[in-house]
């Protein structure tokens, strides 16, 4: 019964028929999805398919032309992401949400130490005790496998993989429920990528994070995501369980994608 009860939960995020046009071009057309707590959804497709635009529309970074995005917040009921005032959206973005950019430089402050990068969200929500902020930063560094003795070093002295892990820590420190990730393993070496994937998989499972993950790498989607959405020219052509879509693709485009993977 425990299982059934959990399934009756309302979704954390509901996207209903959203569209985004650039002139006549539909970057996203009539896209709907539900995301539940703890669920990881991968949006895959080749460059230009509209997956990053969709991520920005869902996270409220970009305006939409039609449809609705609703987020069930912890304390403030359900929020209409695009209808809400900007401060509400920005508050969500730095408390209950996270956003992991492909390039860590877009998601980190380069001129302050790793500790300050992690501590910023805490200070932004009223934390005013240096000692506590610092000890939390240390814990998160450890959590993302960065030696806490590097707490006072600037991120630019870190390797690409470390920067990406720091970016993740910076997002997670506020205890978010939903994380948006745009090609999080994009610019990394294969070995570094594997380590990061492993970390992401453990952390998302441990914290019960819901994730919307944009990637062009079907391998990343297979490892991390419960569900997958395949996009082509702004439209969703196939969606379902990750292994189902990748092992038994029905749409011609998905079949092409899957058959194009080396290995």
């Amino acid at each position: 019964m425990r299982v059934r009860k959990r399934l009756k939960q309302t979704p954390l995020l509901q996207v209903q028929n959203i569209s985004k046009f650039y002139g006549d071009l539909a970057a996203c057309l009539n896209i709907s999805l539900d995301l539940y707590p703890g669920e990881i959804l991968a949006i895959v497709g080749e460059s230009g398919s509209g997956k990053s635009t969709l991520l920005n529309c869902i996270s409220g970074k970009t305006g939409i032309n039609a449809g609705e995005v609703r987020y069930r917040s912890r304390n403030n009921g359900t929020i209409d992401v695009h209808g809400a005032k900007e401060p509400v959206r920005r508050h969500l973005a730095r408390t209950e949400w996270g956003y992991v950019h492909q390039n860590p430089r877009d998601g980190l402050r380069g001129n302050v130490s790793a500790g300050a990068n992690i501590g910023e969200r805490l200070m932004g929500t009223g934390s005013r005790h240096y000692g506590e902020i610092r000890s939390q930063a240390e814990q998160w560094l450890e959590r993302v496998e960065i030696d806490p003795c590097r707490i006072d070093h600037q991120p630019r002295t870190f390797s690409g993989g470390m920067q990406q892990r720091l970016q993740i820590a910076r997002n997670l420190v506020s205890g978010p429920s939903l994380i948006f990730m745009d090609e999080p393993t994009g610019g990394l070496d294969v070995s570094v990528q594997a380590k990061l994937l492993d970390l992401l998989r453990n952390i998302t499972a441990d914290l019960g994070l819901a994730v919307v993950l944009v990637t062009h790498d079907l391998g990343v989607a297979r490892l991390l995501a419960h569900r997958i959405m395949v996009m082509k020219r702004g439209q969703v052509v196939e969606t379902g369980l990750t292994d189902q879509v990748l092992d038994d693709p029905h749409h011609p485009y998905t079949q092409l994608l899957v058959s194009s993977i080396l290995v």
Partner: protein
């Protein structure tokens, strides 16, 4: 009552008639439309304490960074009856202070002074006078960089939103970084402060020693940034809080020495190197305050030395 006022006004007018400003120039250099524009910005700034009001800053006959913002504010508010004091690094006798005083004496035909108690407008760079300010004073601060968030966020579009939504976490990032690097909040001037629980401001490059003087000051305090085209204000009797951490509370500078000339122990001191051997003394940065204490008979350890003679000559000239 009525008669008295009239008498005062008449006396005033006859005084004003005696002082002429430079022929061919409008009173206080700026044309009346420009002053009107600046005054409107000042009024808005006073109405929204701490908010940076954009204004269309004019070219002034001096380079940016020399106080063009402060000058435009002073020029817009100064009347013939005002008495102007200008300080730079606390001193009334530095080049910048002397020139600006001279500029207004000429262009507005106003009386100038070095005494805080006599002044009605005090234009300043780097300091707030040691003497208690009163309701009769208007402080005009010269501001190089009005945006306290600039250091953490270079985008103006973003900093404006951060102000609008009171997203001030990044401001503490700067203080955090200070403690992480130096073991304490090492920021010693331009120390960020929260005005009336609303906006965070840069108090201009005054030492944090002067930050407490911003709080609940009876004087109107106006801040002008000429190059950055911003004016902001702290109205009289407004709460101004310096940012800090619970475990690293805000503290002002302290000195073990007293002023070498007047022996003051509670004023802001400048360090002066005396010779090539590295001997040094400390003196009040507020030259007016120091001189009056000396005149009143207060003596510091160096009061009778060569330095004090020089100081005397300097004051005499």
């Amino acid at each position: 009552m009525q008669r008295n006022v009239n008498n005062d006004t008449e006396a005033l007018l006859s005084d004003i008639a005696k002082i002429e400003n430079e022929p061919g120039y409008n009173h206080a250099f700026l044309d009346e439309q420009t002053k009107r524009m600046v005054r409107r910005a000042i009024l808005k700034a006073v109405a929204i304490p701490g908010y940076q009001v954009p204004f269309s800053s004019r070219e002034m006959p001096m380079p940016y960074g020399w106080g063009t913002g402060g000058i435009q504010i002073t020029a817009s508010i100064i009347g013939k009856a005002d008495v102007l004091k200008v300080i730079d690094q606390g001193a009334d006798d530095t080049t910048n202070a002397v020139s600006i005083r001279g500029f207004f004496a000429k262009m507005a035909g106003v009386a100038t002074t070095e005494k805080t108690s006599e002044a009605t407008i005090i234009q300043t760079r780097h300091r707030i006078p040691e003497d208690k300010l009163t309701r009769a004073h208007t402080m005009v601060y010269q501001v190089p960089v009005p945006e306290p968030l600039r250091w953490v966020e270079p985008r103006e579009t973003e900093t404006r939103k951060m102000h609008a939504h009171s997203e001030y976490g990044a401001m503490h990032v700067k203080l955090y970084e200070d403690i992480a690097r130096h073991g304490r909040i090492a920021t010693s001037f331009d120390y960020p402060a929260l005005v009336d629980g609303g906006y965070i401001i840069s108090p201009s490059p005054i030492p944090k020693f002067d930050n407490p003087k911003l709080d609940m000051s009876p004087a109107l305090q106006l801040f002008g940034a000429g190059r950055e085209q911003r004016i902001y204000a702290i109205p009289p009797y407004t709460k101004v809080t310096s940012l800090d951490f619970e475990d690293y509370p805000f503290e002002v500078q302290k000195w073990e020495d007293c002023c070498g000339l007047c022996g003051a122990t509670t004023s802001y001191l400048d360090e002066i190197i005396l010779n090539d051997d590295g001997d040094k003394m400390f003196v009040c940065s507020d030259s007016d305050y120091c001189q009056r204490r000396c005149e009143a008979g207060h003596k510091g350890p160096f009061a009778d030395d060569r330095i004090s003679d020089e100081q005397g000559e300097r004051n005499a000239s």
